[in-house]
């Protein structure tokens, strides 16, 4: 199946599930696919930041090998598979691991309906966490006057870390530990958010794909059931949100976090 897109003359192309995807030199498979209007599920990728490649939810097959599409450079004539049952199953399992590792009680989470993890799980038809839950003990940090941290929901995507250091210049967050003990920490001697310079208008406040970094006194402004991904699946929301935006073009590579 091939689907000719109106494409700027002279741009090289690769194939994504048989569709011709034009790309700018320097773009990744993910960036070019999104710009061309094709959704590949992702969690740690954010179009305003340099790719991170940690969640692997964006895994595709390129010329038969599995790779992360958000860190793989687009190249002429690549044959990329994405929407296959094999890759869907693999992504589904990765998402189920994320639910298993943390404590995700969606009915009582302020992020529900706006959460990318939940929305990607809906997209992949995840009906349960499948694995035996770990139920880790992760105390909250409610020390900051305006912000609550609920570590139970963290998927370690490092977007808050990247935003705080690259855009806000504050380095409020970091990861510590390895393997299953890896966790998000707050960069202050006390370890408490109140002892950092985090402010509600910081970029780090708006990038978390899940419900860790919450503004206090803002609960349920929009009722459950009427939120972003209640209205439309994340594939549609993402493509219409990014429509007409260049993603990851050479002059735009520094992750300036607009």
């Amino acid at each position: 199946m091939s689907d000719k897109l109106p494409q700027p003359a002279g741009l090289p192309i690769f194939l994504l599930d048989g569709h011709e995807i034009p790309f700018q030199p320097g773009q990744t498979v993910m960036q070019a696919a999104l710009e061309a209007g094709f959704y590949i599920p992702h969690l740690c990728f954010h179009e305003e930041f340099k790719p991170h490649g940690s969640c692997k939810v964006c895994t595709v097959k390129v010329n038969g090998r599995t790779v992360a599409s958000c860190t793989t450079a687009a190249a002429a004539d690549l044959d990329v598979e994405s929407e296959t049952s094999e890759l869907r199953d693999l992504r589904k399992t990765l998402v189920q691991f994320l639910f298993t590792e943390g404590n995700h009680f969606c009915p009582s989470c302020e992020q529900s309906g706006n959460c990318k993890l939940q929305a990607v799980a809906y997209e992949l038809d995840v009906l349960s966490a499948h694995f035996n839950p770990i139920f880790p003990d992760r105390p909250l940090d409610a020390s900051h006057p305006d912000v609550l941290l609920d570590f139970n929901r963290c998927i370690l995507c490092e977007l808050c870390i990247r935003a705080s250091s690259e855009v806000d210049g504050k380095d409020v967050f970091a990861l510590a530990g390895r393997g299953i003990t890896k966790h998000l920490i707050v960069n202050a001697e006390s370890g408490r958010l109140a002892d950092t310079k985090l402010a509600v208008n910081d970029k780090a406040m708006s990038v978390c794909p899940v419900g860790v970094i919450q503004r206090k006194r803002r609960g349920f402004a929009v009722p459950i059931g009427q939120r972003t991904y209640d209205q439309k699946p994340i594939s549609e929301v993402t493509i219409s949100r990014l429509q007409g935006h260049p993603i990851g073009h050479a002059e735009d590579q520094e992750g300036d976090g607009r």
């Binding site: 995700h104 809906y122 038809d125 009906l127 349960s128 966490a129 839950p133 139920f135 209640d230």
Partner: protein, 183 residues
């Protein structure tokens, strides 16, 4: 197909560590219940008040496992039901009751029944009729094999209807966007 009177499917339902919200959502399918009853009959269920589960085609379990009796009933369902369904956030993932899982059960009981705000002359209930609480709340699939998961808190009446009509028609139940919800 000839008009042979089709044998009705036997369905059992139960609420374990749940709030009965999922059962309320079953009732919320309203007049479609009448259509449903042309295809199914109830075995053990809060709707029939039958106390033990006999051989069934479908078992629908609301709520997770917070005490020894929950585990006993779940095993009874698994032994008797050809298809076992976890219905709702608590059955699927532990849900709200599982939010005590990071707390010590002894501390929980002491705080609630002895030292908590406003408690006077409290004592920890120890009637032998009361099932012992588990130290952690578990989703159903932690203990038995579950055939289908129907998430939601509760799943909407439309989601339950879609799920059941798919199942009764011999299709793999599929909710899709708008009916698949975790909240």
């Amino acid at each position: 197909m000839t008009a042979v009177a089709k044998k009705k499917l036997r369905v059992a339902t139960v609420s374990l560590a749940g709030c009965f919200g999922c059962h309320m959502s079953i009732l919320d399918i309203d007049e479609r219940l009448i259509e449903l009853l042309e295809h199914i009959e109830f075995d053990r269920s809060p709707l029939t008040d039958i106390k033990t589960c006999g051989p069934c085609d479908i078992g629908i379990v609301e709520g997770g496992l917070c005490n020894a009796e929950n585990v006993h009933v779940l095993r009874e369902f698994r032994q008797n039901c050809r298809i076992l369904v976890a219905m709702g956030a608590c059955a699927v993932g532990g849900g709200l009751p599982a939010q005590r899982n990071h707390l010590d059960i002894r501390d929980c009981l002491q705080t609630v029944y002895l030292t908590g705000m406003g408690v006077q002359r409290g004592f920890i209930p120890n009637d032998p009729e009361l099932p012992l609480p588990l130290d952690k709340v578990h989703p159903l699939h932690d203990v038995v094999k579950i055939d289908y998961f129907l998430p939601g808190c509760p799943p909407s009446a439309d989601a339950i209807w879609k799920f059941l009509t798919d199942l009764l028609a011999g299709r793999t139940p599929s909710l899709g966007h708008g009916l698949l919800h975790y909240d």
